[in-house]
Amino acid sequence: MKKTLSMLAVAAVISAATPAFASEAEVPPHQKWPHQGVFGTYDKAALQRGFQVYKEVCAACHSMKLLSYRDLTQLGYTPEQVKTVAAEYQIPDGPNDEGEMFERPGRPADRFHSPFPNDKAARAANGGALPPDMSLLSKAREHGDDYIYSILTGYEEKPAGFDLMPGLNYNKYFAGHQIAMAKPLNEGQVTYTDGTANTLEQQARDVTQFLAWASEPHMEQRKGMGLKVMIFMLAFCGIMVAAKRKLWADIH
């Protein structure tokens, strides 16, 4: 009995200690995404706009090391367009026959150009914080796409009395509410080539969808094949049940 009581006491102390986490982030509200669900596919126009947002805004700090420029053909760009995009970047290469490292224009087979040569350089340029690589971001965060969209649109004035550390920014969806990244997207920041209205929400939605594609580029192939596999398997189930019933009929 004494042991049970002290166990309860321990539990009480532990639960009393939990309010330390009271400033935990709000759960990101659920958004509707075209790539959700069994039949969901990517909206290619949104992916292209999202890529533009990434290229003009995010890429200043965030790498996407797992992606190659050639992957962009999946967004509906032609191989020629991809070549042009890749050639905008100077990619370190070498050593050449003289033993020197050199830079050359990017090719479609190159991985996305990283903004910083290494993590230390990235931290040094960002007040000690490391901008995460975004190749897998939407699979690597709780609430995935909803979280990314909410972070991008969740910057607010800090509430009165909130003790914000210097150099950090207030975001209601970030754990602890203090995020090192300054508000990255603003109303009208990216001028879309397809003339879509560039509200903050539109840009956030587009880049979120681009990141969803980047983390799961084979999703459409997967679901397409899955549908055929399911139809086959269900027919297979039916045939097996029929065969078993016929076979066992004379046993009973």
Binding site: E142, H218, V229, M233
Partner: protein, 424 residues
């Protein structure tokens, strides 16, 4: 010649020629053709075959994953992602392998639950059951090491937490952990040995499965009545009857499995599995894969050091209690045939045992829930009560029920059981 008794006479001369020199066809007919199965086995008896199929799928996809994998701390994560992105159907291989582990455990847990409920561990199947427990332990080791290979945050921290448990062992603990790691932290030597063992152990499992099935073919299968077959009227040949019935279960199981693989491949994993391992950054809370959660809850259920009364000398630290309980919870299954000595096998004819076993199945999920939550407040207490019931059931209730339970009348034979041969 004498290995399998009389050789059959096959009409195909090639088959006959081979069979006279290596009686493989005679063996197949004896063990998988005319092999007598109790005619009343239900679909719960299909999960052994399903588990074996999952083992085959895991080995095949695993070998192909290994062909594209680089076991080095700086390259492992990216090599898995390269498989996902650039290898033809690499995403399919990885999602089958990743979710295959979960479905292998689902099949094996159902298989074990069936064995528990119908008393399949009792005489004459004690050794068969014990080899099954060995398979479970090997599977857990293999799954744990496989989980480490992508070298994600979950991998690295999972390895750190689980291997650190051994430091609870008195005197040799710390040395043992260093020995397991191959260094003073979880690093490249750890990953390399885990990779080697993750490749090796599935084939060890295959070997023990062979022994498990061999032992099964000596005693024959148990059945829902727990009464051994007495006359040919009690049995049907394995092929085509039971093989077809098993195929029905297998195809349904694979349909659900493939549904998850193709449409919800991330349903059973954690987001931290998609972040590279960073030894400097601990994730908010570390949870193992779902199939380890009940045992993880047992590990964490112990929160108080046992001291010599009225002193501060610690006899048994809480951490060591947890480690012993966790390993003990599986090891004690080895002794189950002697903990439960009630002569009646099937739970159908044991009114008290039946409810105790159902409560164990519920307890398994309670522990799973507890294991997924931070060890505090209500989930901790649920974990502690769940752990208490687990051990009380096996160490107190089953030994007592061995002699005190009023069993229901058992049918004289399988065919005499009114529930045996109803239309399906």
């Amino acid at each position: 010649m004498a290995h399998f008794g009389e050789n059959k006479n096959f009409s195909n001369p090639v088959v006959n020629w081979i069979d006279n020199r290596l009686p493989i066809f005679t063996m197949l007919i004896k063990e998988y053709g005319v092999f007598p199965m109790p005619r009343n086995v239900n679909y719960m008896w299909s999960f052994g075959g399903i588990a074996m199929t999952m083992l085959g799928i895991m080995i095949l996809t695993g070998i192909m994953m290994a062909m594209n994998y680089t076991p080095h701390t700086t390259l492992a994560f990216d090599s898995v992602e390269r498989t996902m992105r650039d290898v033809n159907f690499g995403w399919l291989l990885r999602y089958i392998h990743m979710n295959g582990a979960s479905f292998f455990f689902i099949a094996v847990y159902i298989h074990i639950a069936r064995g528990l409920f119908y008393g399949s561990y009792k005489k004459p199947r004690e050794l068969l059951w014990m080899f099954g427990v060995v398979i479970l332990l090997l599977m857990m080791a293999t799954a744990f090491m496989g989980y480490a290979l992508p070298w994600s945050q979950m991998s690295g921290w999972g390895v750190t937490v689980i291997t650190s448990m051994f430091s609870a062992i008195p005197l040799v603990g710390d040395g043992l952990v260093t020995w397991l790691w191959g260094g003073f932290s979880v690093d490249n030597p750890t990953l390399n040995r885990f990779y080697a063992l993750h490749f090796l152990l599935p084939f060890v499992i295959l070997g023990v499965v062979f022994i498990h099935v061999w032992a099964l073919h000596v005693t024959g299968s148990n059945n829902p009545t727990g009464v051994e077959p007495k006359t040919p009227a009690d049995t049907v040949p394995f092929a085509p009857y039971v093989s077809t019935k098993d195929s029905v279960a297998l195809v349904f199981f694979l349909t659900i499995f493939l549904g998850v693989v193709f449409f919800y491949p991330l349903a059973l994993t954690e987001v931290d599995h998609f972040r590279k391992f960073d030894p400097m950054q601990t994730p908010a809370h570390i949870v193992p894969e779902w199939y380890f959660l009940p045992f993880y809850a047992i590990l964490r259920a112990f929160t108080m050091d046992i001291t010599i009364p009225f002193t501060t000398v610690v006899l048994l630290p809480a951490k060591l209690q947890g480690v012993l309980a966790m390993f003990g919870s599986i090891i004690l299954l080895v002794f189950l045939p002697w903990l439960d000595r009630n002569p009646v096998k099937s739970g159908r004819f044991r009114p008290v045992f039946k409810w105790c076993i159902w409560l164990l199945f519920v307890d398994f999920f309670v522990l799973m829930y507890s294991g997924a939550k931070p060890p505090e407040g209500l989930p901790l207490i649920m974990g502690q009560l769940g752990t208490l019931y687990y051990f009380v059931l096996f160490l107190v209730i089953l030994p007592v029920l061995s002699f005190k339970e009023k069993n229901l009348p058992v049918p004289a034979s399988i065919s005499a059981d009114p529930g045996c041969c109803k239309k399906h």
